[in-house]
């Protein structure tokens, strides 16, 4: 099994190299004068020249690339013009907010989509099946920022049951002691139920929005995979042996059907990480997405590029984790040397 993990790790390396190259090209291949971009719209000619030398933009491209890789290895992602802070530090501080949100959205999506897919597969062409298909198609058709706004309008403005979309926690509460950065975890570690609930309230709408978006591919894959499993030979044997329907559907069919669903999670993460940015803007969520958007408005480029790089690395890491997970839970792979 270890060799399988190592092999997967090795196959992720070319992707990482590709990411570094592409982000380098994006930072240096700006049309016009890159130094002017990094110096900012209000810079004088001398300031631009200073930036040029400071960032090494006067050297040859090859040398610049080596410098770039070296800086990355040291964890340096440049500085933000608007805040003056190192980008890497700001991203790190804001990362838990994004992760907490995305994880919750994913959990919600899986929690709804898998049962939906299972029910649709158990009753093909019934109204449940059609509802599942419509929900799935609508889920991908709705622009996620629109869904978010819709949620706010209905649940905050019309019904008044959701809090104002102003971030992770309402002003009356103070954030929990920072241990992990995840408010849900930290507030429980603090033993402060009030803060915990307040954090949950803020998380509900944005997580739901993300979840609705991710529902579709998961539900679709679960349904297709379950249909295939339910009509397989081994399920027929299980039925012929008189095993109870719960055992057959969940123990035999679903367990097998979930394997392809794991593989679809990679694509789901691609959607989610992109959608994260939009949701963070709609709900004023202080994660790395809104950090990048704020920087964009001010023509501050280093944060945006740092953001793209970090997102890509996270995504490669997630895909790797999914690959390894699949290899571990499918005995046909984990046991094959």
């Amino acid at each position: 099994m270890l060799s399988m993990i190592l092999r997967r790790l090795a196959s992720a390396i070319p992707s990482l190299i590709g990411v570094v190259i592409v982000t380098f090209v994006l930072t240096r291949a700006l049309p016009g004068d890159p130094a002017a971009y990094y110096a900012g719209p209000a810079a004088t000619k001398e300031a631009i020249e200073q930036i040029r030398v400071k960032l090494g933009l006067d050297k040859g491209l090859g040398e610049q690339f080596v410098d770039y890789v070296g800086a990355l290895a040291r964890g340096e992602l440049g500085n933000s013009i608007s805040t003056g802070q190192p980008v890497a530090h700001e991203l790190l501080t804001r990362l838990p907010a994004s992760i907490e949100l995305t994880l919750l959205g994913l959990i919600f999506a899986i929690g709804v989509a898998v049962p939906l897919g299972v029910f649709a597969a158990l009753r093909p062409n019934s109204w449940v099946d059609h509802v599942c298909r419509v929900i799935a198609t609508a889920g991908v058709s709705l622009p996620i920022f629109f869904t978010g706004l819709l949620m706010i309008y209905v649940f905050y403005f019309l019904l008044g049951i959701a809090p104002p979309p102003l971030g992770r926690i309402e002003v009356f509460y103070s954030p929990p002691t920072h241990v992990t950065g995840f408010f849900l975890v930290d507030s429980l570690l603090d033993g402060d139920l009030g803060v915990f609930l307040a954090a949950v309230k803020q998380l509900v709408l944005p997580a739901l929005t993300l979840g609705i978006f991710a529902l579709a591919p998961i539900a679709r894959m679960t349904r297709a995979s379950m249909l295939s499993a339910l009509s397989s030979d081994f399920v027929r044997t299980a039925r012929a042996s008189g095993l109870g329907s719960f055992k057959v559907v969940v123990g035999y069919a679903l367990r097998n059907a979930l394997l392809p669903v794991v593989t679809v999670l990679g694509m789901v993460f691609s959607f989610l990480l992109g959608a994260n940015v939009l949701v963070e803007k709609v709900f004023a969520w202080p994660g790395i997405g809104s950090y990048a958007i704020e920087a964009l408005i001010q023509s501050d480029y280093a944060p945006v590029q740092g953001f793209v790089l970090v997102m890509a690395f996270m995504y490669v890491g997630l895909n790797l984790a999914i690959d390894v997970l699949y290899g571990v839970i499918d005995p046909r792979i984990s046991m094959a040397t």
């Binding site: 992707s15 609508a138 058709s141």
Partner: protein
């Protein structure tokens, strides 16, 4: 051809939803083609009655500078469709050619194109589009380019898989023996065979391209105001939702959703028509 039409009618009759999607698509095409010329108000002109709710005078209401939202939504159809269409054409053209080359010729072609595809797919796609447009500036050309790049892998992969299958099938050898040159084989044998699958992909990708362009506009990386584009209209309207002025964001958002929905249904329907085995 006749049997293809008959089959199409059978599936359409069988599937009301797909017929409906075709109808919507036709309607959108008309809106895109003649929209800007038939709208009641100038989409870019400010008006005297800002923030007016939907009324008989302004069917979708007006926005914060008094512009008629209905006119803007209809006019935006042309821009959004044009962007989507151009990006898909780019992705399809480049992707299909690359994929066929990779699948058919193998060797270095396959390695290099494979690397390109893997590298693009190593990024969460929307984030990559953000990065490209942020780096190169938000012009419509760059939006089209970015959207085209992130959709390139899908076409390359499908084309490569199909070209691989066809390459190993007997009749390529037969064509070679008959003296057809490689390029001729490419165009007469491979291209027609992959077109059905590609058409399905195109329909699905159109929806995705529209969402992408709208998403970029929403975060300020898309078209610039006062251009009428669905995404930027929703972005503008977002500020007013909290005060209850829902119509500014709602109508462009709804129409956007309908357009994407229509393309998704269309794609599903086309997939059914082409290969009933693949019905999801």
């Amino acid at each position: 051809m006749k049997s293809a039409l008959a089959h199409a009618r059978y599936v359409l009759g069988d599937n009301v939803v797909t017929a409906f999607a075709f109808g919507m698509f036709a309607l959108f095409l008309v809106m895109a083609a003649v929209g800007p010329w038939i709208v009641p108000y100038d989409p870019l002109a400010n008006g005297p009655n800002p923030l007016e709710p939907p009324s008989s005078r302004h069917w979708f209401g007006t926005d914060q500078t008094g512009r008629d939202i209905f006119s803007r939504v209809v006019a935006a159809t042309q821009l959004d469709f044009a962007i989507a269409f151009a990006s898909v054409a780019l992705a399809f053209g480049a992707g299909t050619l690359a994929g066929i080359a990779a699948g058919f010729f193998g060797g270095w072609w396959e390695r290099i194109i494979g690397r390109m595809v893997d590298t693009i797919m190593a990024f969460p796609l929307f984030v990559l589009a953000m990065g490209i447009v942020a780096a190169m500036g938000n012009t419509i050309f760059n939006i089209v380019l970015a959207t085209g790049i992130i959709n390139f892998p899908i076409y390359a992969r499908v084309a490569r898989a199909e070209a691989n299958v066809i390459r190993n099938a007997g009749y390529i050898e037969a064509a070679r023996i008959a003296g057809y040159g490689e390029t001729r084989i490419l165009f007469t044998q491979i291209l027609p065979n992959i077109m059905p699958i590609m058409v399905v992909q195109i329909s699905l990708t159109m929806g995705y391209a529209i969402l992408n362009a709208a998403g970029l506009s929403f975060i300020g990386l898309g078209v610039r105001p006062p251009t009428a584009e669905w995404g930027i209209m929703v972005s503008d309207g977002a500020n007013f939702i909290q005060n209850g002025q829902w119509w500014i964001a709602a109508f462009p958002g709804l129409v956007l959703m309908l357009a994407v929905f229509c393309f998704n249904l269309l794609g599903d329907g086309l997939r059914d028509m082409i290969d009933p085995r693949r019905r999801t």
